[in-house]
């Protein structure tokens, strides 16, 4: 598909959609699908057919609209009504409402609430707005425009420059400047280079990558292809965990459709540039999200990390220079190319640019997926967008960064969300999981939960992580049971120090973070557990 053909395809699709006077979009991404989204869609479809409205009303599947706790969600256009908690039985009412242009009052979800109004969508701009299984819809929404632009009007160096200017940093959690990473791979001499997309999202409570892959897979593929062009790679691997079957299905279908349309594969957009993408499924190991372990897994070996350097950018997949970025990082690329690095850099803070997608979970009213500008405070996220903790409970802490992150207490909620600020608090940005805890949560038990996770997910290669996390778990268990002594508290702190400073990879290095941050902000909870013994 040449750029002209791409524009034409977009026009044709828009014209086809314009034939319908109304559009009913039902979320069938994992969150809504788990509470009957697919059945709702079928029921509405049947109802529309029965009432003979098929010619004027389009019923379609879309991806995640964000407010997962209120699912299944149904959006009606052009009047912009959003229905929540829809059941298949509501289909007749909803379809009748279409006819009269009178929404069903009981089901209406206000879209002017802060949850929607305070968000700023870049990566998620098409999530919930297009049918992820239909390439023309993605194209009509601006999909692959950035790729066509990059391939036909810019050199690889110019593409990298744009990404560098944007200030984009790795969204998988590390926050490494994306432009620098791309430059390193681009400058490496090699006959073969690879691009890998890391979709091994494993933090408990995190579902950003899943939602994006399920809702707008073409955006990720487009970002990967632009990256491949920029660094000079001709093969790519999409590493997705097998626990995301819907994301895998939609990705497969997206790859097939993009290949058929000449947007992936040989001579993309009619240029000499070729890029093939294969999917690799993760077999359930959290550590495979670590880049060197991920590479080992793609190569078919045991998913265990190796010491760096050499970094994958120098020696990665099969020893070739390899670019590894997270799903969300690639999701930012098409917009940066289309609108420019300066535009992207105008959002966010001095060192953290653009927006970040977060998965809000735990004791919070609005559970779901959000995208906010960097620099927004945690308080705004929890209380404005998230709607605060449910009635009758008090906010206690917010956990960011999963098993590698930490718990942030109430008095620090005015901290801006950026890589440095969160790091100073002993937590990390992480991939974007945010778990809110109310006053009924025990911080010792929270630390124990995450340590149990790290212990179970340690690959076992290096001693401090393999044995250290097991001892830390036992110690935390002792605290939780109320059997700990003051000597145990000292030992706990010492072992955290050893594991943090001597482990081989990020999993072990960051495994003590949940303990250290709860010790820092909620030390009294540990001490209270001690008193029970001495008294």
């Amino acid at each position: 598909m040449t750029p002209d053909e791409l524009r034409e395809a977009a026009q044709i699709e828009l014209a086809a959609q314009a034939r319908y006077t109304q559009k009913v979009s039902v979320c069938t991404a994992a969150g809504c699908a788990s509470c009957g989204g697919v059945q709702v869609k079928e029921a509405i479809q049947r109802q529309v057919a029965e009432e003979g409205l098929k010619e004027q009303c389009l019923v379609r599947s879309v991806g995640c609209m964000g407010l997962c706790s209120a699912g299944p969600l149904v959006a009606v256009e052009p009047d912009g009504t959003l229905y929540h908690h829809v059941a298949p039985d509501h289909a007749p009412e909803i379809v009748r409402g279409l006819d009269l242009a009178l929404p069903v009052k009981d089901l209406v979800c206000p879209t002017d609430q802060p949850f929607f109004a305070r968000q700023h969508k870049i990566v998620l701009e098409n999530c919930g707005r297009i049918d992820p299984d239909k390439l023309p819809e993605a194209i009509a929404a601006g999909g692959y425009e950035g790729l066509a632009q990059a391939l036909t009007t810019r050199s690889p160096a110019e593409v990298i420059h744009e990404v560098t200017v944007s200030g984009l940093r790795g969204r998988g959690g590390g926050g490494y400047p994306t432009g620098i990473k791309w430059t390193t791979v681009a400058k490496a001499f090699a006959a073969e280079k690879y691009v890998i997309c890391n979709g091994d999202e494993g933090d408990p409570g995190a579902f950003m990558d899943r939602a994006l892959l399920e809702s707008d897979p073409h955006r990720v593929l487009e970002g990967m292809t632009i990256a491949a062009y920029a660094v000079g790679a001709s093969r790519g691997y999409m590493y997705v965990r097998a626990e995301y079957p819907l994301a895998v299905t939609r990705l497969k279908s997206a790859i097939r459709q993009a290949e058929r349309a000449g947007l992936l594969g040989k001579n993309i957009c009619g240029t000499p540039f070729s890029f093939d993408v294969d999917i690799r499924l993760g077999a359930g190991a959290f550590v495979c999200g670590e880049e060197t372990a991920l590479i080992a897994s793609v190569e078919g070996r045991r998913g265990a990390p190796r010491p760096r350097p050499p970094y994958p950018a120098e020696s990665g997949l099969w020893g070739a220079p390899t670019l590894i970025n997270n799903v969300e990082t690639f999701g930012n690329i098409p917009s940066i190319i289309r609108k420019g690095g300066d535009w992207y850099a105008s959002m966010g803070t001095e060192k953290s640019k653009g927006t970040k997608v977060f998965a809000l979970a735990g004791c919070i009213r609005n559970t779901g997926l959000i995208e906010v500008p960097m620099g927004i405070t945690l308080r705004e996220i929890v209380f404005d967008i998230g709607g605060g903790v449910p009635e009758g409970r008090e906010f206690k802490a917010i956990q960011t960064g999963g098993p590698s992150g930490g718990c942030i207490p109430e008095h620090l909620l005015d901290t801006p969300v950026d890589y440095e600020s969160l790091h100073e608090l002993g937590s990390i940005m992480g991939s974007g999981g945010m778990i809110v805890m109310d006053d009924s949560a025990s911080m010792v038990e929270t630390a124990r939960f995450f340590m149990e996770f790290s212990m179970a997910e340690s690959c076992g290669k290096c001693v401090p992580c393999r044995v250290g996390t097991a001892h830390l778990y036992d110690l935390l268990d002792k605290f939780a049971r109320g059997d700990a002594t003051p000597a145990d508290l000292a030992l706990l702190e010492e072992l955290c120090d050893v594991v943090k400073n001597t482990s081989l990879c990020g999993l072990g290095i960051s495994a003590p973070n949940p303990v250290l941050s709860t010790l820092r902000f909620f030390r009294h909870e540990y001490e209270e557990k001690l008193k029970a013994v001495t008294a």
Partner: protein, 239 residues
């Protein structure tokens, strides 16, 4: 055509040393009689940086690095002995001793054990973390050898020597984390392994009493590593 490796001058523990850029800090240290403790490293096998005993400080680098996989850089300042490193090394040894059942007094390798020697070297006199006492099996199904998982420290020397040198790849690691175990073939008893050639290299490279020859009583099993320098030379040639 590979470019000729350059020579780098740097410092270890205040001493000026010289190494080629394709060597490791550990190799250069040993050439200069600077003793850095190691467990998973063995000359002639690929280094994996797993045991973390050889961690050293490098001035200006934020993190500690394993000297067995760190290449010399011009002007780098390496510290291999410090109070902090000694503390970490002791704790890591405590981790290893507590992980499984290392009962020296009844071990066939007593007195010929690298784990034991290291504990003496770094002054690990007692273990402060609770012993885990896992109930692990002893595989005596092989005609000449025994695998006692209670003594295994998962250094993966057996895995590497079997795969890289003997070429059989009988050994590998199964499970993960604290549940990891070295296995023969797909966890079949050693004696039933189709791939094992019975060469015994794994036994000879094993640092502890985990892999031993049959017919030895307490403290009688000493390892014969005469073939190792030869091995290293062979690998040099392959480079």
């Amino acid at each position: 055509m590979t470019p000729t490796p350059r020579v780098k001058t740097f410092r270890i523990d205040g001493r000026d040393v010289v190494g080629r850029e394709d060597q490791t800090v550990l190799e250069v240290a040993r050439e200069n009689d600077i003793r850095i403790p190691t467990l998973c490293h063995l000359d002639g096998l690929t280094d994996i940086g797993a045991c973390r005993m050889c961690l050293v400080e490098v001035q200006g680098w934020g993190r500690l690095v394993p000297s067995c996989v760190t290449k010399p850089e011009e002007g780098m300042v390496v510290v291999s002995q410090s109070e902090r490193l000694a503390r970490y090394r002791r704790t890591i040894l405590e981790f290893l001793f507590s992980e499984r059942n290392h009962v020296c007094a009844v071990c066939v390798s007593n007195g010929h054990c690298e784990l034991q020697d290291l504990a003496e070297e770094v002054g690990m006199t007692h273990v402060r973390v609770p012993y885990r006492y896992p109930g692990l099996a002893v595989d005596a199904s092989h005609g000449r050898f025994v695998a006692d998982h209670n003594r295994c420290i998962l250094c993966a020397r057996c895995v590497r020597v079997c795969g890289e040198v003997e070429g059989a790849h009988t050994w590998d690691v199964s499970g993960r984390g604290i549940q990891s175990l070295v296995i023969t073939d797909l966890a079949a008893p050693w004696g039933e392994s189709d791939t094992c050639t019975g060469c015994g290299k794994c036994v000879q490279v094993c640092p502890t009493g985990a892999l031993t020859e049959k017919g030895h009583s307490v403290a009688e099993m000493s390892k014969r590593r005469q073939f190792l320098p030869y091995l290293a030379t062979m690998r040099e040639g392959r480079r």
